[in-house]
């Protein structure tokens, strides 16, 4: 049965699309069938997928014009997906439409005051729908004193997955090529690959443990 992951945050620039692409590509490298659902009017994930030469895995569905996101997610499931990864726009009302379908809500958060004070609405929405939610600290510099303070503040609000994703130019560069940082050939991409791999293990474990109602 397909597992549905919503990558959601009401704060723009938190790294939702880059993370959705990185996780999707990583899952594919493990032999999983992945369908990416792009619910963001910006369609950045779709443009990345086109630069990747329109692969069948990860497959892609644009949901930007679809008012019924649940229906789109069901269509993704029918394509034989093991995983459906939904890239949400920074809109709570749009996230409302998809939350009931989710097995896990992944909330990327940069270690900044503005990102952290924006997480509450998504957390409330997830809790109302009784859908598990986890934070991923994104674009974190391990040398920042701010990082510890950010993780401490987030831990009060919910589970923070390990590892944090470091600020790495490869994430941005890879997008240009329709790739992910983990797929680049340079030496530093090994760090990105290791982080995404560990993160995916943590995400897959949590999403798979969710018992859905019939």
């Amino acid at each position: 049965m397909a597992k549905i992951i919503l990558v959601a945050a009401t704060k723009g620039g938190s790294g939702k699309t880059t993370l959705a692409a990185a996780l999707g590509a990583h899952a594919v490298s493990l032999g999983e069938k992945v369908v990416l659902v792009d619910a963001d009017p910006q369609q950045s994930l779709g443009l990345w997928w086109e630069r990747r030469d329109w692969p069948t895995n990860p497959d892609y569905i644009s949901a930007v014009e679809d008012r019924d996101l649940g229906r789109t997610i069901n269509e993704a499931k029918k394509r034989g997906a093991d995983w459906v990864i939904v890239d949400m726009p920074g809109s709570l009302m749009r996230t409302d439409l998809a939350v009931g379908e989710a097995d896990l809500i992944l909330i990327p958060v940069r270690p900044s005051m503005m990102d952290i004070e924006a997480v509450n609405p998504i957390c409330e929405l997830a809790d109302e729908a009784k859908v598990p939610r986890v934070f991923v600290v994104n674009a974190a510099d391990k040398d920042w004193k701010l990082l510890g303070s950010a993780v401490e503040a987030l831990t009060d609000l919910g589970e923070v997955l390990e590892p944090s994703l470091r600020y790495h130019e490869g994430h941005a560069s890879a997008m240009v090529l329709g790739q992910t940082a983990a797929e680049l050939k340079d030496a530093s991409s090994r760090v990105a690959k290791s982080e995404i791999s560990l993160l995916w293990s943590a995400i897959a474990k949590r999403a798979s443990s969710r018992k859905r109602r019939a």
């Binding site: 809109s91 005051m113 952290i116 004070e117 040398d143 920042w144 004193k145 701010l146 303070s149 950010a150």
Partner: protein, 94 residues
């Protein structure tokens, strides 16, 4: 480590709890309301409204537009307030 001072995000979050703005933007209900308002910029929260088609002096119209711009008010806010004030003076119950 850089030379930037250590900051306490938790303390800053607690301090922001007293802000009315934070109460709205940091709750799901408040956030939905803000998004709804932002997505319907022409929709009024004043209930049912009607158009009033009257001729007014040109200099008043210019003054109205200037005041609205200067005080960042909507034209209807000034017009409604003016009409309500005059009607109350005349004994109308609003």
């Amino acid at each position: 480590m850089g030379d930037v001072e250590t900051v306490d995000i938790k303390r800053a979050l607690r301090a922001a709890l007293t802000s009315p703005r934070s109460k709205v933007s940091r709750s799901a209900t408040g956030r939905r309301a803000l998004e709804k308002a932002a997505n319907n910029p022409r929709k009024s929260e004043r209930g049912k409204t009607v158009q009033l088609n009257v001729e007014i002096r040109e200099d008043l119209k210019h003054a109205l537009a200037n005041a609205a711009h200067e005080h960042r008010k909507k034209i209807w806010e000034i017009v409604e307030a003016g009409i309500a004030a005059e009607l109350r003076k005349l004994g109308a119950k609003l």
